[in-house]
């Protein structure tokens, strides 16, 4: 099985001198192709920092990180930008859709940034939006004209459209009601079954249960175990 993520002894701290606070204390983890991993942890455990580092959106102090075999820890800003566009699909808790763009324009962005033509980007985006249940009548709507569930589906379509190696989700159901949250989790399972690798950050045990594998993060340290052990 191809390794998507390989992290060895990753450390990150904020502040300096007496105010220095270590947030990630020597994290090591491997995620294989096709896995559906939930990183479960309470607020302030360092899970969001870990997600930002995995998503190449934040730097770290020590350790090694390979993404699909590429050494992220050696990359400069431009290379990290390329990796974010080509290899990672982000799904945020607050969707992070650009309000002035239509659903279609938002979905097309990763492809347009990659240099794909508008026509081709639109075709591929339409396909993903359709797959996620966003009909043609909704594609020219702006995010604020859509429900939370629909916005999250557009965010998922945007994450999928570039066919990334890794889907990185940060509390994907956090802003949704229970029913819509369930629908989104079902969608994640479906996407995983289709072969997508998913890493999901959550504080919610129920949400974490949807994943095939769970790791716990407490006070900046990762704990692995069987799903039932960790859920207990």
């Amino acid at each position: 099985m191809e390794q998507i993520i390989k992290i060895k002894n990753l450390r990150k701290s904020y502040g300096q001198g007496e105010n220095r606070q270590e947030v990630l204390k020597g994290i090591s983890i491997e995620v294989g192709d096709g896995e559906f991993l939930a990183i479960l942890g309470p607020s302030g455990s360092g899970k969001s920092t870990l997600m930002n580092v995995i998503g190449c959106m934040d730097c770290f102090d020590e350790g090694e990180y390979w993404l699909t075999g590429e050494p992220v820890y050696k990359m400069n800003d431009a290379e990290l930008t390329r990796v974010r566009n080509r290899k990672i699909g982000f799904i945020f808790q607050r969707y992070h859709l650009i309000q002035k763009y239509t659903a279609l324009q938002n979905t097309m962005m990763p492809l347009l940034i990659r240099g794909v033509s508008r026509r081709e980007a639109a075709e591929q985006s339409m396909e993903k939006l359709k797959m996620l249940g966003i009909g043609e009548q909704r594609i020219n709507h702006r995010p604020n004209e859509l429900s939370g569930g629909q916005q999250q589906r557009i965010a998922i379509a945007r994450a999928l459209v570039g066919s990334p190696k890794l889907l990185l989700a940060d509390e994907p159901t956090g802003a949704l009601d229970r029913e819509t949250g369930e629908e989104v989790l079902a969608l994640f399972r479906q996407l995983n079954e289709m072969g997508n690798t998913i890493v999901m950050i959550t504080h919610d045990l129920h949400v974490a249960k949807s994943a095939k594998r769970i790791v716990k993060i407490i006070d900046g340290q990762l704990y692995e175990g069987s799903k039932s052990e960790l859920l207990d």
Binding site: D58, T81, N85, H96, R114
Partner: protein, 458 residues
């Protein structure tokens, strides 16, 4: 999987422009407000160049009929000198009545022969009479002969006198005062006067003191209804009848300190005998063949005249200096106005910078999303810079249009405004440079944000 089909795998510039367009359409009112500084700046540039150039055109028009090598000689009494010094004038020939550009009136040295027409208008009344009595020396044709024979390098020398005189005849219902100039035949070539019909004053007219007159285009229209029907008609000047032998073409300029369009020209000898009598104040104009010798010839003429008239105060001025001074004044005015326009632009540019800074703050999260999706620093920089440039170009185009549209309005105030097409190019260049310069820093700040920093901003 989607392949990297784009140019070098980077976002296409047309797509960046599309994002810029979306932003602009979302914030139309803000764009217009931001552009205001640039609109005002561009319009100012167009206007100041038009006004500045208008001043230069005015000066050129003023001196169109002047010969750069001409020297004017006049005599002034001590009292007159004192009066003129107090008025800031440099000599009796210095007054240039008529349509001098604003800011240049009442102090122009080197007024041309006959240039005292306005001041001398009172010479028929009490003040002029007193002045004439004080003046012990009067220039005459003898002085012309002296200068012609003793000073070499002069192509022409002429004497004339001018003042207002009462005129009757034609369509005039009552006696009206017009500038009347007593001239010799060579006055026409000296002042580059063009004839529409008939002939100019001849040597024969001068010698025989003929009562003939050549009139200006506008005056002919005023008195006879048409400039073409005046020749052969007659006019009464100071009670004597004169036959009109010629009409000048429309000059539209001030020649020799008077406006030929509104003047009557009669033989010099006739003017002395029938029009001005003993009150005539004459001036001499000499044309120097080589303009480089003007200063030298001025000194020479002055010293020759001083020998003949040791008690007189001669004022010798040259047209070249006047032209140079007036042109220089107009250019200084232009430069001053352009400086003002540049200041307006800088203020407009700072306005753009402020708005873009606010825009960066407002759009921090959007920048974070774009960066998270893989938008590079260069692409974000390009997007914000393109937006600043769009605002500048929009402002520039609107400003240039407003500037040209204002030209006829400003003309209503009587100011000479001569817009130049090149001013539009300058204004656009300034607008784009200002937008790029002041738009760069906020754009660079936006592009330099870390994705997570930007995303976490509320």
């Amino acid at each position: 999987m989607t392949q990297d089909t784009g140019l070098y795998g980077k976002m296409r510039f047309t797509e960046i422009l599309h994002l810029v367009w979306i932003n602009i359409m979302e914030n139309k009112f803000k764009v217009i407000l931001t552009s205001l500084g640039i609109i005002v700046g561009s319009a100012t540039i167009v206007m100041v160049i038009a006004v500045g150039h208008g001043g230069e055109v005015d000066v050129q028009k003023q001196f169109k009929t002047l010969n750069a090598g001409s020297i004017n000689i006049s005599v002034s009494t001590e009292a007159e000198m004192r009066d003129q010094m107090m008025q800031g004038s440099f000599g009796p020939g210095g007054d240039m009545p008529g349509d001098m550009p604003s800011g240049m009136q009442g102090g122009m040295p080197g007024g041309m022969p006959g240039g005292t027409a306005g001041n001398r208008s009172g010479s028929r009344s009490g003040f002029g009479g007193n002045l004439a009595k004080k003046q012990s020396v009067v220039l005459s044709t003898t002085d012309v002969d002296t200068i012609s024979s003793l000073v070499t390098g002069l192509s022409d020398v002429s004497i004339y006198t001018s003042a207002t005189a009462k005129v009757e005849g034609g369509d005039l219902t009552e006696e009206t005062e017009y500038t009347t100039v007593g001239v010799q035949s060579n006055y026409q070539s000296i002042c580059n006067l063009e004839l529409l019909q008939g002939d100019f004053i001849s040597d024969d007219d001068q010698d025989s003191k003929n009562k003939v007159a050549v009139i200006g285009y506008t005056l002919a229209q005023d008195i006879f209804g048409s400039a073409y029907s005046a020749v052969g008609e007659s006019l009464s000047i100071e009670g004597k009848t004169y036959e009109i032998v010629g009409v000048l073409s429309k000059m539209g300029s001030v020649s020799s300190g008077i406006s030929p369009d509104n003047s009557i020209f009669v033989p010099y000898s006739t003017a002395l005998k029938y029009v001005f009598g003993n009150n005539a104040v004459s001036q001499i104009t000499a044309i120097v063949s080589d303009v480089n010798q003007v200063a030298e010839k001025m000194e020479e003429i002055k010293s020759i005249l001083m020998e003949d008239h040791p008690n007189a105060n001669f004022t010798v001025t040259d047209a070249g200096s006047s032209m140079e001074a007036a042109t220089s004044s107009a250019k200084t005015l232009s430069r001053l106005l352009i400086t003002v326009a540049c200041i307006v632009f800088i203020v407009g540019g700072i306005g753009i910078m402020n708005v873009l800074f606010v825009s960066v703050k407002e759009r921090t999260q959007e920048i974070g999303i774009l960066k998270a999706l893989g938008c590079s620093k260069r692409e974000i920089l390009l997007e914000f810079l393109s937006e600043a440039n769009f605002i500048s170009i929009f402002g520039g185009v609107m400003g240039v249009a407003a500037g040209f549209a204002l030209v006829p309005v400003v003309r209503l105030s009587g100011m000479t405004v001569a817009p130049l097409a090149v001013s539009g190019i300058y204004a656009m260049l300034f607008a784009v440079c200002t937008g790029t310069l002041f738009g760069f820093y906020p754009a660079w700040k936006a592009a330099s944000l870390m994705p997570i920093e930007a995303l976490s901003q509320k």
